[in-house]
């Protein structure tokens, strides 16, 4: 039992009183205060003195004290036993001022009424207070909770009047009020005004009252019908309440709301109720928001900190963790880390796995490594990191990177049996870890392999045995057999590549062995988009600088030795020639062009030389096929390298025969290559010119071949090969009279035809004649034959000049005679022109002498009327004159 002392007042009239209602007695000196407090919460004038009606007294009202002490007022209006001076019935209003803060939390309005209903008030004003006794555990309100919940929600948005009462007693009404207010945070009671009945509801101010009808801004709620909230806040509040009622968790929500006793105002804090209830519902609300895509990190954080992870079931908590990780990424570990559990572990792995960006995956997974270590669960966490779900895609590489970092961060090789077993049993996982190590910490690969093997190499998988052999370099470790390598490659197709990488690191390519090299060449023969080929390219690109020096020779020796094995090696020997050269070309193409250009050129040249060396036995077709395949496999920008290599080969003695298979097989590819390469475009005519010269071609044919070569030589301003004229040394017609001179003249004409200026062409002819005749570049016989041809030509020129001289003299005589005739005729015509001019002048003078000169006499200033006709010359002139 709780006893509370409160202030009181009695408002009524004295018997036979002719004055109005007033405070007849009160505690202490609070008369003015009671008058001020009593007025605003008046329920109106009683409308009947009859009992048993809904509007019958007693009327109980609960108000609020406007002061900051948040005192609660309660007035109970009943009929007094006496009448006033006019014999009218008089009401007695007992007024109490209750300390809101001291009221027990479970005490409701009905309890207050029960406690105060029968308490006698002191007969006169005095200092004593009235004690009200409340039970500690008041009886629960028997009320339709769904109705109370709906009414409470409506009460949040507007004033409420409850109508439709049939015979509800005051206690039952107040019990209904209690049921309603229990559905609201307790703090609203500081602002709530209640009346068990009001007359003229429109002019009352109670927030919640019972009355005959709704009016003004009051929202009507039938006592027997659930109302429907209108505003969004109220509807959401109602929905939350209903959710708990449907779950039969009304006690939970009532206790929760009762815990918020901080005074609240309906007018200014309508949303506070929703916030408070949402706090209770925070866990579920947060999960709902997350699942509806409206999750907010602040609320999740608040739900976790205020409600704890136990407020969520396992599935919801997993979603919460997932949301936190998705929202905050790696930063979530500072908050979520304290809730470390297998659920969080799974959530982290899933979040990291599904992160769209690789670095984010790495950050998320890595951020929780210290958390897992702090909770002693690092082995399990890392094992989960590298273990995909059944049927799911393999784990991203970043997971293995995190594992690797965790492994390398350990001061000593950690036991981690779960992780080790997982990596050994699941080949892709183990391989991924080694690959990540090769990518990120290549120097630590032996350490990682050693950790994996753990000193027991006998029971390890084949792929690991192969890599362990190359990485360890331990003579005690047996060299893997081809069968083991095949098994390893079957387990891990990238074994050869990883082995190459490890061998590169150690500069121990001899440890690879022919079998692995052959697999590398096969990988190199894959299409450019093949991932394995890309890895091979990457590995070759990451080779140590071996372009020169003994290491380069060693590498080349190994590679070229391997290339020369097709006949000896059973796997390769079974391949067709075209397939082999294709793989070979692809493998060479894997060598990066930029950084390893020289290495690639030397590989290309070396392979071509190997094939050329086989030409006497197998012909030039394999070499041509190889070069053309290289041409196909190389991108267009790298064709110049191939052209240079071909030009180098063609420059070599005895290798010109390669030209014909290339031209025959290459077709347009070959023509484009020649057109795009200066060296080939200069080599090709030269070779054709030489071939033509050796094949007894005519001067005309030779001139057509020779002229472009001469132009190319002059364009480069230097010969790339030996001077083209040297090719004529083998020309059979060289010593024949006039043959060489004809060739020079025809070539000079062809040069002019190809656009060379005539003077330059003449200069070339002169130089060539000097080279042959004076310098004897083609030998003495050719010089003598040319000089003889020149002399004969000079004679023919002299004869022609004499004949022409005679013709000119004859023509000059004829021209002089014609000039004399013309001059005579001109003189005659001039004399005739002078005679005709003189005759014209004489005639003019004659006619001038014949015409008389007119006399000049007097003329009257004014004409008389007889001076002529006075009629106008025309009608128009006459009208004008009139």
């Amino acid at each position: 039992m709780t006893e509370i002392e409160c202030y009181w007042a009695c408002v009524s009239k004295e018997p036979r009183d002719s004055s109005d209602y007033r405070v007849l007695s009160c505690s202490a000196d609070h008369l003015a205060k009671y008058q001020a407090l009593e007025r605003p919460d008046r329920p109106g004038t009683p409308t009947t003195r009859a009992s048993g009606r809904v509007e019958s007294l007693p009327w109980v009202t609960f108000g609020r004290n406007g002061d900051d002490d948040h005192q609660l007022t309660m007035s109970i209006m009943t009929w007094a036993d006496h009448q006033d001076a006019d014999s009218r019935p008089v009401t007695l209003t007992r007024f109490f001022l209750l300390p809101y803060a001291q009221l027990p939390g479970a005490v409701g309005y009905a309890d207050l009424y029960r406690a105060a209903a029968d308490v006698p008030l002191p007969p006169e004003a005095g200092a004593e207070l009235v004690s009200l006794t409340f039970p500690d555990a008041p009886p629960p309100a028997r009320q339709d909770l769904s109705w109370a919940a709906a009414t409470a929600a409506v009460l949040l948005e507007s004033r409420v009047i409850i109508t439709g009462l049939q015979d509800a007693s005051t206690e039952r009404r107040l019990a209904a009020v209690d049921a309603i207010t229990r559905m609201l945070p307790r703090g609203y009671r500081a602002d709530l005004t209640v009346a068990s009945w009001v007359s003229f509801p429109a002019q009352r101010t109670q927030r919640l009252c019972f009355g005959p009808y709704a009016a003004g801004d009051l929202t009507e709620v039938r006592f027997d019908t659930n109302p429907v909230p209108r505003s969004g806040i109220a509807r959401r509040y109602h929905a939350l309440l209903l959710k708990y009622l449907e779950r039969r968790q009304e006690h939970l929500v009532i206790e929760w709301l009762a815990g918020y006793s901080t005074p609240l105002s309906f007018a200014s804090d309508p949303i506070a109720a929703l916030d408070i209830l949402q706090d209770l519902d925070l866990a579920d609300a947060v999960v709902d928001e997350i699942r509806n895509g409206r999750g907010r990190w602040e609320r999740v954080l608040r739900a976790l900190t205020e409600r704890g992870p136990t407020a969520f079931d396992a599935h919801d908590l997993y979603d919460v963790f997932r949301f936190g990780l998705a929202e905050r990424g790696a930063d979530a570990h500072t908050v979520l880390g304290q809730y470390w559990s297998p659920l969080l572990c799974s959530a982290v792995v899933a979040a990291a796995q599904q992160a769209s960006v690789a670095c984010e995956r790495d950050r998320i997974a890595g951020a929780f490594v210290p958390v897992a270590a702090a909770h002693g669960d690092l082995d399990g966490y890392l094992t989960q990191l590298v273990t995909p779900d059944a049927g799911a895609a393999p784990m991203p590489a970043e997971m293995f990177a995190v594992c690797l970092r965790a492994l390398l961060d350990q001061p000593a090789p950690p036991p981690w049996p779960l992780l080790r077993r997982r990596l050994l049993e699941d080949v892709p996982s183990g391989v991924s870890l080694v690959i990540e190590c090769q990518d990120l910490h290549p120097e630590q690969v032996p350490y990682v392999l050693n950790w994996l093997v753990d000193g027991q190499p006998s029971g390890i998988p084949a792929w690991l045995a192969v890599l362990y052999h190359i990485a360890a370099g331990n003579p005690a470790v047996a060299e893997p057999s081809p069968r083991l390598i095949e098994e390893a490659i079957q387990q891990n197709p990238s074994t050869a590549l990883q082995a190459l990488d490890i061998a590169n690191r150690r500069t121990a390519w001899d440890l690879l062995g022919a079998t692995l090299w052959q697999h590398l060449i096969m990988i190199g023969g894959c299409p450019p988009g093949d991932p394995s080929r890309q890895v091979l390219v990457r590995d070759l690109n990451s080779l140590a600088p071996i372009d020169a020096g003994p290491r380069a020779r060693a590498f080349l020796d190994v590679v070229l030795e391997t290339c020369a094995l097709p006949a000896a090696n059973p796997p390769i020997s079974t391949l067709a020639l075209s397939g082999y050269v294709d793989e070979l070309a692809g493998a060479i193409g894997c060598v990066p062009a930029g950084q390893r250009a020289e290495l690639r050129r030397r590989l290309l040249l070396g392979v071509t030389e190997i094939l050329a060396a086989e030409a006497p036995r197998a012909g030039w077709d394999p070499a041509a096929e190889f070069l053309l395949t290289v041409l196909d496999r190389f991108p267009g920008a790298e064709h110049a390298e191939v052209a240079d290599v071909i030009a180098d080969i063609l420059d070599r003695p005895g290798c010109a025969a390669l030209l014909r298979p290339l031209a025959a097989r290459g077709g347009e590819r070959w023509e484009r290559l020649v057109a795009g390469s200066d060296r080939l475009s200069s080599v090709m005519p030269w070779l054709l010119f030489e071939e033509s010269a050796l094949a007894r071609a005519s001067s005309d044919e030779l001139a057509r071949c020779w002229a472009p070569i001469i132009l190319a030589e002059q364009a480069r301003n230097a010969a790339t090969r030996r001077p083209s004229i040297a090719a004529l040394a083998g020309w059979p017609s060289l010593t024949r009279v006039d043959a060489l001179l004809d060739l020079i003249e025809l070539t000079c004409a062809a040069l002019a035809g190809l656009g060379m200026p005539v003077s330059e062409a003449g200069q070339w002819r002169e130089d060539t004649i000097y080279q042959v005749a004076r310098d004897r570049v083609l030998g003495v016989a050719a010089a003598e034959a040319l000089v003889s041809s020149l002399r004969q030509a000079a004679d023919r020129v002299a004869q022609a000049n004499a004949h022409r001289l005679r013709e000119i003299e004859r023509h000059e005589a004829e021209q002089r005679l014609q000039i004399k005739i013309l001059q005579d005729e001109l003189a005659r015509l001039a004399a005739e022109r002078a005679e005709m001019a003189d005759e014209d002048r004489r005639w003019e003078e004659f006619f001038r002498s014949l015409s008389p000169k007119p006399k000049r006499g007097w003329a009257p200033a004014v004409r008389s009327e007889n001076d002529g006709p006075r009629e106008p010359a025309s009608e128009k002139k006459g009208w004008l004159r009139r």
Binding site: S19, T47, S87, P89, S199
Partner: protein, 402 residues
């Protein structure tokens, strides 16, 4: 519902002169007064005219009627009878129409609630309609009429104020003898008042002061019965503070006219049916009898002010005189009207007379039961509607709104 039981506390009227004698004396006295009109003429004989409307005194034009309305010739050649012309309907009230704010002012139990309680009935009995304009007003009217007509209950002491908004409307009609028929246009009063307890005028809250100061008219209910009761608090206790505050607030609002209050005031001397009050009126020969059924005694309208003056000066003591003097001194004289009222009227004798409708009995005139909380028969209010009509007319004639 008339109370069949005879009144337990019959007024002691046997010692007084018969009412008929009083009537005849008064009637003779009135006929000797040159300026006074027929004292028995009810105030509402002509009906309330529409204030501000054109004069309805038509001169007879050459065509018979000034407005040229058709006439109906009679068969015997007598004067033509004018065809009844329906008067134009009143325009429907607009929300912009200004309400007449009336302050009901009076002491506790002076009859304010009963005044409003019986106002619907008075309006109905005089051909007016009363329409509530909001829920509270509707509830008030329904409750008043229900309690009054079913159980004869009078209002309980007012515990809290109620704002009442009623529209009183009288439809247009054609009145007068057949040779002088005239149209009486309709009238409308939009009433807005607050029923509050009389104690408020004693404690005088800000709400009371504001209501009085902003009111267009004030119906001041003067309860002479309170003054005649030696144990009761005088009216002046509920008057002085309110009057003083009213003056101050009106001055603050700059509404004073020549140092006087601008309000239109209807002073209602209430409870004419009360035993002591009626006796005093009879003693002063102020009571006349209505010529119309039920022939209730009344104080003629033009005698109301002298009656109040006489009552305060000679019968009720200095406190009442003080009230009267303050009213005269502080209000503009032409804006003060006096009425002698009785909200519940007099009771009718149980003996069925005058065509079975009952008749006034001077020996048993009270309309209250012995308990005093209900009426014996249907109330017939006296001068309940008239003060409002007079205030409305006065307000319109004043040409300005306070």
């Amino acid at each position: 519902v008339p109370d069949d039981k005879p009144p337990d506390d019959k007024p002691d009227v046997a010692a007084q002169r018969p009412y008929r004698q009083i009537h005849e004396s008064a009637w003779g006295l009135m006929r000797e007064l040159p300026a006074a009109g027929p004292p028995t003429r009810p105030m509402t004989d002509g009906g309330p005219t529409r204030i501000g409307a054109p004069s309805t005194n038509p001169g007879i034009g050459p065509g018979g009627y000034p407005d040229g309305s058709p006439t109906i010739p009679t068969q015997n050649g007598s004067a033509p009878r004018r065809a009844p012309v329906p008067a134009p309907p009143l325009p429907s009230p607009s929300i912009t129409e200004r309400e007449m704010q009336i302050a009901l002012w009076g002491a506790t139990s002076s009859g304010k609630s009963t005044y409003l309680w019986t106002l619907p009935l008075a309006a109905e009995q005089q051909g007016w309609t009363l329409t509530p304009l909001d829920e509270a007003s509707e509830e008030y009217k329904v409750r008043a009429e229900t309690d009054l007509m079913t159980e004869g209950l009078l209002p309980l002491p007012t515990a809290d104020e109620v704002l009442i908004r009623w529209q009183l409307e009288k439809p247009p009609s054609v009145e007068g003898p057949w040779w002088h028929r005239r149209e009486v246009p309709g009238s409308r009063i939009v009433l807005r008042t607050i029923e509050r307890r009389g104690g408020d005028f004693e404690t005088l809250t800000q709400s009371v002061a504001d209501q009085l100061a902003h009111a267009d008219g004030i119906v001041y209910l003067f309860d002479p019965d309170r003054e005649l009761n030696p144990n009761a608090v005088d009216n002046v206790k509920f008057f002085i503070a309110a009057m003083t505050r009213l003056q101050r607030r009106s001055a603050e609002l700059d509404r004073m006219i020549g140092g006087r209050l601008p309000h239109h005031l209807a002073v209602c001397i209430t409870k004419l049916d009360a035993l002591k009050v009626f006796a005093k009126a009879r003693e002063g020969f102020w009571v006349t009898q209505s010529v119309q059924w039920p022939h209730f005694p009344q104080v003629a309208p033009h005698h109301a002010e002298p009656f109040f003056d006489w009552l305060c000066r000679t019968e009720l003591g200095e406190a009442a005189s003080f009230v009267r003097d303050r009213i005269v001194a502080n209000f503009l004289p032409h804006r003060v009207k006096y009425f002698v009222c009785s909200a519940i009227g007099f009771g009718l004798h149980q003996c069925r007379q005058s065509g079975g409708r009952g008749q006034f009995n001077l020996s048993d005139f009270s309309n209250l039961t012995s308990e005093g909380d209900r009426v014996r028969s249907m109330p017939r209010p006296i001068n309940v509607l008239e003060p409002l009509v007079a205030l409305e007319r006065s307000r319109r004639f004043s040409g300005r709104f306070p």
